[in-house]
C-alpha cells in the first residue's frame, strides 16, 4: 500500500486562483468574528472596582442576585456574578483549578468547613483574621461558626461564616406511628439499630440511611461517617500533634455500624452505588415512605421534600420529625457544619474590596436570604432578631440548637480523608471488605497520599 501511488497526478489539480480568493475572503470574515468575540470580553470601562463573585446552584444564585444591587450601592463597586457548575464535585474542581491558576474570582464560597484547611494550606485563601476581628458581627456568630472558620494548622480565620447546616436524624413520624414503632429519641446505637430492625420487620421498608460510597463524594463523610464517629467510643479524629487517628476504636465503631446496616439490609445499597446516589433514597424513597430514617440537614425540609421540591411531602411538619444522633453508649449530639463560608482569593487583584464584600455577605440579611433558599440556619445568633427570621418557622428549632451543636475537627488533608471514607464505605457497600478491612483500606489510602507523617501509625 504505497501511498504515493494513490495520490492523483498533481497536474490534475483544478484551480487555485478562485480558492485563494475565497481564503482571503474568509480571513476577512474571521477578523470580524474575532473582533466581535474580543468585544464581548472587553472590560467595562469606569472607575469602579469590579469584584467577581463565584456562585453556584440556582437557589444560591437567586439569593445572591437579590443582594447584589444593595451591596454595589453600599460599597460603591460593581459586582459580577460568575455562575459555577451546580454539582458539588464540579464546583469544587473548578474552584480549585482556578485558584491554582490564579484566575479564580475575588470572592467565593467554601462549601464545607472541612475544606478550609486544605485550601488555606495550599495558599489559596486570604487571611481574614484581622478583618473578622474588626467586624461588628464577629461576636454575634455562633461559637461553633467562629471555631470552624479557622484553619487548624495556623489558627487563622479564612472564611466569613454565613450559614450553618444543622444535621440530625429525620424520620417519618407518620409511618412509624402508624406501625406502632416508638418515636422516642433513641438512647444509644443499639436502640437505634433495634428501631431500624423493627422498621424493617414491620414495614418491609428500608430503615436507616447514612450516606456512603464513592459517588456520594464528600457526603459519605460529612453526612454519614462523622455522625457515627462523633458518638463513637473514641470520637477524636486528630491526635494532639494534629495527625489523623485512623486506626482508632472510634473509626472502627463507625465502620462496624455501617457494616451492620448493610449486613442486616437496613439500608438501601444499590441506589448508593448509582451516579447520583442521593436521588433515589432521599428524593424518591423517603417521600414515598420506602425509607424511614435518614441523616439530613435542615435543608432537607426545604430542598429535598419542601413544597417546591421534586417530590414534596405534604404536611411536612406533621409527617417528618427529628431525633438527635445518639452516641454508641448513650448521650446525644447535634452535628453542625459551617457551609458556604465566604472566602477571598489570595491572588485577587483587589483584596481590600473583596474582604468588604465577603463581610457584607456575612451580614444577617444576606445569610437570611441564603438560609431561606437553602434551608440552612444563619450563622449569627442575632439573626433571630431580624425581621426576615420570623418567616423561617421550620428553622427556628435548628437555630436554637446552634449553641449545643458540635462538629468533628479535621485538619489539612481532609479532602483525602473524605475520599478515603468514601472508598472505605464503598468497599463495605460492595461487600469487598469487612469493617476491619475497610478501616485498613482507609488508613492505607490516607497515609499513601498524605505521607506517613500525617497519620498516626499506632493501632490505638
Amino acid at each position: 500500500m504505497n501511498c504515493n501511488a494513490r495520490h492523483k497526478d498533481p497536474a490534475a489539480y483544478p484551480g487555485g486562483g478562485r480558492t485563494m480568493g475565497r481564503i482571503v475572503k474568509s480571513v476577512r470574515y474571521a477578523a470580524v468574528l474575532l473582533g466581535t468575540v474580543l468585544a464581548l470580553q472587553s472590560p467595562v470601562t469606569g472607575a469602579q472596582d469590579v469584584i467577581r463573585i463565584a456562585e453556584h446552584r440556582s437557589v444560591r444564585l437567586d439569593a445572591l442576585r437579590t443582594l447584589v444591587p444593595d451591596i454595589e450601592r453600599e460599597l460603591g463597586i460593581e459586582i459580577r456574578v460568575v455562575e459555577y457548575p451546580s454539582p458539588a464535585l464540579d464546583y469544587f474542581t473548578k474552584l480549585v483549578t482556578e485558584l491554582r491558576s490564579g484566575n479564580a474570582p475575588d470572592v467565593f464560597t467554601v462549601p464545607r468547613d472541612q475544606q478550609i484547611d486544605d485550601l488555606a494550606a495550599a495558599g489559596y485563601l486570604a487571611d481574614m483574621s484581622e478583618t473578622l476581628a474588626a467586624w461588628d458581627g464577629y461576636e454575634a456568630l455562633a461559637p461553633l461558626a467562629r471555631q470552624l472558620a479557622k484553619a487548624t494548622f495556623d489558627r487563622k480565620s479564612y472564611v466569613v461564616p454565613s450559614i450553618l447546616a444543622v444535621e440530625q436524624l429525620y424520620y417519618r413520624k407518620d409511618i412509624l406511628e402508624r406501625h406502632g414503632i416508638s418515636t422516642d429519641q433513641p438512647a444509644d446505637w443499639q436502640d437505634l439499630l433495634d428501631r431500624g430492625r423493627a422498621i424493617r420487620d414491620k414495614t418491609g421498608h428500608y430503615a436507616l440511611l447514612f450516606p456512603a460510597g464513592l459517588t456520594w463524594g464528600t457526603g459519605a463523610y460529612t453526612e454519614g461517617f462523622r455522625h457515627l464517629l462523633a458518638g463513637s467510643s473514641d470520637p477524636l479524629l486528630l491526635s494532639d500533634a494534629g495527625r489523623y487517628r485512623l486506626r482508632s476504636a472510634g473509626v472502627r465503631d463507625a465502620l462496624e455500624f455501617y457494616e451492620t446496616l448493610i449486613e442486616e439490609e437496613l439500608t438501601p445499597i444499590e441506589p448508593l452505588l448509582s451516579p447520583e446516589p442521593w436521588i433515589i433514597p432521599k428524593y424518591e424513597m423517603f417521600p414515598a415512605g420506602e425509607l424511614l430514617v435518614t441523616t439530613c440537614g435542615t435543608w432537607c425540609v426545604v430542598f429535598d421534600w419542601g413544597p417546591n421540591s421534586r417530590n414534596p411531602i405534604p404536611d411536612l411538619e406533621q409527617r417528618v420529625a427529628t431525633w438527635d444522633m445518639p452516641g454508641k453508649h448513650g448521650g446525644r449530639h447535634v452535628m453542625a457544619a459551617l457551609v458556604y463560608g465566604w472566602a477571598v482569593n489570595q491572588k485577587s487583584r483587589s483584596r481590600v474590596r473583596a474582604r468588604q464584600v465577603a463581610l457584607r455577605l456575612g451580614s444577617v440579611d444576606a445569610s437570611i436570604a441564603y438560609a431561606t433558599g437553602l434551608g440552612n440556619v444563619p450563622a449569627r445568633l442575632d439573626a433571630k432578631e431580624h425581621e426576615g427570621f420570623a418567616a423561617l418557622v421550620h428553622l427556628h428549632d435548628a437555630h436554637a440548637q446552634l449553641t449545643r451543636a458540635s462538629a468533628v475537627q479535621t485538619t489539612v488533608g481532609s479532602s483525602t480523608l473524605m475520599a478515603g471514607v468514601a472508598r472505605a464505605t464503598e468497599s463495605l457497600l460492595t461487600g469487598r471488605e469487612d469493617a476491619a478491612g475497610a478501616q485498613e483500606l482507609l488508613f492505607r489510602y490516607v497515609s499513601n497520599i498524605l505521607g506517613d507523617e500525617a497519620v498516626e501509625a499506632a493501632a490505638r
Binding site: 501511498c3 489539480y13 487555485g16 474571521a30 468574528l33 474575532l34 451546580s86 491558576s101 484566575n103
Partner: protein, 306 residues
Amino acid sequence: MAGGATVESAASQRRGNLRAYGILLFISFYCAVPFLWVLVASFDAKPSQFLRWPEDVTFSNYSNLFVNESGMLWLLNSVVVIGIATIIVLVFAGLGGYALSRTRAWWKAPLLYAIILVRIVPPPALIVPVYKVMLTLNDGVNATINAVVSDPSQALFLSRIFSFVDGYLGLILVLAAMQLPLAIWIMKTFFDAIPVDYEEAAALDGASTLQTLRRILLPLALPGLAAAGLFAFISAWGDFLMPLMFTSSPELQTLPLGLFRAFLRIDRIDYGFLTALAVIYTLPAVIAFSFARKFLTRTFSGGVKG
C-alpha cells in the same frame, strides 16, 4: 455475501440481498434512533429528557439561540478558538510536512517514527503534565501583564486573551498541538507525492523560498491542506477534554463545555435551548465530515504507512 459482483443464481442473489437489507436496516436503526430525540426536542415547545412527539412544533428554540447571549457566545467562542487552532495547524503542518518531506538528514527517519508515536499519545495521559506546563507559562504571562498594566480590568482583559489557563491563547495552542501529528503526517505524505521538480523549476525561474511556497506549493498543496484542515477541525471541534481542562470563565466557554455545564444545572435544564444548540453544534462537524470522508482511508493508511 462475499463476492459482490460475481455470478450468482437469481434466487441466491435475492436471498443475499434480502439478508443485506435486513442487516442494513438494523444497523441504520441503531445509528439513527439516538438522533431522534435531539432533533425532535429541538422543535418542541415543551421538550423534556424523553423522546416524544411535540404537541406544539416551534422554531423558537432556534431563534432563542440568537437572543440567549450565552448560547451565542459559546458558538462564537467555538468558531474563533477552533478556527484559529485549525489555521495554526494548517500553517504549521503545511510548512512542517513540506519540510519533513524534503529534508535530507540522518535523523529524518527517527523523527518520523517519533511523530507516529506522538500521534498515539493518549491525551488524557497528558492532562496533568500539560496542566503543570500551562500553569507555569500562565504564571509567567500573568506576572508580565500585571507588571505592565496597572488597571485591573485591563489586566483581566489581557489575561483572558493571553493566559495559558483560562485564556484563548492556551486553549488554542493546546488544541492545535493535539491535532498536529496527524496533520503533519497527512501533509508529509502529500508532499512526498508532489515532485520536487516544481520547486526546482521555480528556483531556476528565480523564485525565492517564500515565493515558491506561496505561488507554487500552496496551490499544489490545497487538497492535502483541505484533508488536514478538515480532520483537525473535526477533532478539535468535538474535543471536550481540553476545554474542560483549560477554560473556566463563562466568557471563554466553547460549545462543548457550555452545553455540558448547562446540562449540569440539574434543577433547571432548558432542554429546548440545549437540544437546539446541540444540533447547531453538531452541524459543522457533520458537514466537515461529509467533505473529509473521501480523505479518510488515504489519511489513516497514509498516516500509519508511508
